[in-house]
Amino acid sequence: MEILVCVKRVPDTAENEIEVNGSGTDIERDDLVYSVNEWDNYAVEEAIQIRDKVGGSVTVVTVGDDEAEEVLRREMAMGADNGILLTDDAFEGSDGKGTATLLKAAVEKGKYDLILTGAQADDGAGQVGGMLAAMLDYPYASLVNKIEVDGDKLKVGREIEGGNQEMNEISLPCVLSIQTGINEPRYVGIRGIRKVASVDIPELSAGDLGVDAATVGEAGAKVKRLDYFVPELGEGAEMLEGSTEEIIAKLIEHLKAKGGLK
């Protein structure tokens, strides 16, 4: 099975406090630690496991600048066979549809049976997988937490409300967006990353992809962020202050009053 996994470099919310910058035009990006989007990491792990079971190859693709290349290398260190970087100044400011347009062009340059994305990203809208599938006229399933290969079909589970799982049969080629928890992504050590440090990663521009620059990037975006802000807190919590002993004494009084202690 030839598998393409679409990945994205994002600020790591486990490593950073996300704050709005002084002018409200962006989040504060100085000193941010970036990593591969958590959901994408599960998608790559799933692709590797499927390849190891049924054969084929795993290619990882991303849209971004030179720094985005590091997430491709990280995923290749995990076990992906190939990387492709879609990069061009014209891609900057793309909305979800713009990104899906670029990925579609990349898909059409290869031959893939299965395309995976993360179900969402912390700075995104959970949209690219569904858009890409519709553009390609491939069937789609989102929030996938189980995949079984069955000939030219897959049996896929979707995570739905209440911890339930919706089982579907889906024909190949198709696009699936992957939910966290579907597997346990393997650890990537520094040695693994060194091993792929010099592997050539092809870069494709708007011209290489045959994409009209006006349909992507800022120019083609129908959806634009205007600003960032921290929402009004409303009432907000009553913050307990003082020494730890004082805080604990106050908390215990509250818990007693609310029936929180047996």
Binding site: G130, L143, Q165, E238, G259
Partner: protein, 322 residues
Amino acid sequence: MADIYAYITHRNGVADDSALELIVAAKKIDAGATVTAIVTGSGSELDQVAEAVAATYPKVMKYGNEALAYPNAEAVRKLLVDVLPADAVILVPHDTFGMDLSPGLSIKLDSAFVSDVVDIEGVEGGTLKVIRQEYSGMVSTHVACDVSKGAVVNVRPGSFAPDESQSAGGSVEDKSGDVGDLSCGRRFLEVVEAEVGDVDITKSDVLVSVGRGIEDEENIEIAQELADAMGAVVSCSRPIVDAKWLEKSRQVGTSGQTVKPKVYMACGISGSFQHMGGIKGSPFIVAINKNVKAPIFQVADIGIEADILDFLPELTEAINDL
């Protein structure tokens, strides 16, 4: 302004709560708009839902077909592409169905898509201005969306106060005859119900709930000791289940269990809307988190800025000494 439609999700013959919220969201886009509800399904359940929804929407369009009995987003998308007029604005709840349906729907309608909207400021000159959240609610953004060629707007459940007036006196139009070919490359098989775990967190009045802040599997014990001291049960947020440190049946949230405790101790939990969506009945919420900017502090009653790995053992000891 183009026509506005609302897609109604339902289960067991009962419309989802979002049905009462989407009409409020639609009126924030255009107060004068006639909002049409679209209900798809089959049999008597569909009829019941359509009738019920007519109390909220002036116009209800009902599409019955065996292929729509279970809401397979791929089939529903085909139907909507066939029946929606050009430039339509359609609102969809941002739940696991809406996330499945809407991105692809916007491509097939050649309209804009805006996801997980929490508030709407209105339309000016073909531009819809909405509010979204990013980074698990740590920051919000104003987003402008060109709706001149229509739009698919996914609305976060619970973000708009429901319209409970039941005064629309709407009419139901059976449009089942318009249903065309719904064949697609994805076939619904079955729903596998969540496994029942060793503890039923939905039955506990007091929950000690842990999130990422617990940092390591062996630290779960710290939360268990506090729960033992309090006579409580340990629950958790999604990352703890993803890491396989606790069973899925202990997860609070829209993709886990819905709980109604009296007291909820959120320990090292940031408080994403998916997590908070699983907490009902307005419990007394205590948030303990070392990140003072965590969204949980907006919804908690009591907040404590502390590292739970230090704070919880001290609290346990103090309670045991009572």
